[in-house]
Amino acid sequence: MNLTPQRGGVVILLSFLLAFILTVMPLPEWVRFYRPQWSTLVLIYWTLASPQRVGVGIGWATGIVIDVITGTLLGQHALAMSLIAFIAQKMHQRLRLFPLWQQSLTVLVLLLIEKLLSLWVMGALSQHVPSLTFWIPPIVGMLLWPWIFIILRDLRRKFQVS
C-alpha cells in the first residue's frame, strides 16, 4: 500500500489521450501499415513506472476505447491489452532493471502477443486473414520504445507522478 498521495493522474490521462489521437490520426496510405500501437506502448510504460496505479483494469479500459474508436469488435483489443498489462505488471521489477535495448526486445514480444490475440479474435470471427504487413507495427513499436521510454520518464519526473 502506498500512503503518499497520488499525483499526476492528469499526466497519465493526457498521455493516453495523445496515444488515442495518434492511433486514429489520418496518415498517407503508404505509412498506414507502419503505425505503431501507440496506446499499448503508453500502457506498457505506465504499468512499468507505476504498477500500483496502472494495471489490468486500465489496460482493459484502454482496449475498449481503442475498439470503439477504430471500429473493431468490442473486446478484441481489450482482451489483448489486459493480458499485456498483466504480464507487464508481473515483470515490472525485472523489466525496470534491463538496459533499454533489452527492454525493447521484451516490448516487442508484448506487442507481438497483442497482435497475435487480435489475429486470434479475427480468426474466430472468420474475418479476412491480413497479409504479412500485419506484423510490422510491433517492430516499429520496438524501434520507438527507447524514445517513448525517455520522453515519458522525463515527463514523469517533471510532474513527479508516483
Partner: protein, 272 residues
Amino acid sequence: MVVDHRQNHLEGIRSILAVALSPLNVIINLPRSTGEWISETFATRSMLQQQNQALKKENLLLQVRQQKLDSLRSENMRLRNLLDSAVKIKDRVLIAEVIAVDLDPYRHQVLINKGSSSGIFIGQPALDASAVMGQVTHVNPFSSTVLLITDASHGLPVQVNRNGVRTVALGTGQIDRLELPHLPNNADIEVGDLLVTSGLGGRFPPGYPVAEVTSVTRNPGQPFASILAQPKAKLDQARETLLVWTLDSIQGYEPPDDATKAPENNAEEPQP
C-alpha cells in the same frame, strides 16, 4: 464478450462510448477542417467566379439531362403499368460528410458525421456521386460507420446492366477490386460491362451502378470463370456520401423467380 457482441447486445454500449469519445474525432478532424476553412475564407474573387461559371455550366448540362430523364421516367412508369409491376422510383437521400479518421487498416470502413439523430439505421445503403459505396454497420447518435463494398466481409447482389445476369460482388480487401465468384465459364459477361445493384438482398435499392468489369479469365480446367471488377465509386477519396431511404421499400418489390428474366433495370436518380 465476443459472443455477446456477435448477437448485437453491446451495440448500445458501443454507441454510448462512441458519444463519450466523439470529442476525440473533432480534435483529429481539426487540422483538415481548419485547412478547409482557411482556403474557403481566403479564396480569391476570380477563383470564385471561375467556380461559379463552371457550376452554372454543369447545372445547365444536368438540367438538360434531367429533362430527358423525366420523359424516360414517365415512359418507364407507363410501361411498368402495362406490365403490372411494382413502381419504385422515389428515394430520399441525406448527404453526410466523411470524418478524416483512420480506422482499422485491415477493414474498409469510414466514419461519417450523421447518426441515429438524423434517422440513419443499420444496413442503410450509402452512395457517392457516381456509385454505391457501402452500407451502415454501426450507428451512434451523431456519427456512424459505413462498411465499404470492398471490405473482405462484404457481398453485394448485382446484375450486369447489359443483359441482367445476376451475381454477387464480393469485396476482396483491396480498395480497387471486387470479385464475382460462381459464374460459369459460358456466362455472358465481358470486360467493360457495368454492374448495377439488383436489389435482391432487400438492402440496396435496385438499379444503382456499382462497378465495371475489368478482367474475365476463362480457364477451361476450372468450373467457374474468375472475374474481377473495379468499383465505380471513389472509395478512397470520397469526402461526402449520400444515404438513401427507399420510400416504397421492400414490400412493393417482389423478388423475381429464378427462372424468369430479371427485371430490366431502370434509370433511377436520387431525389434530394
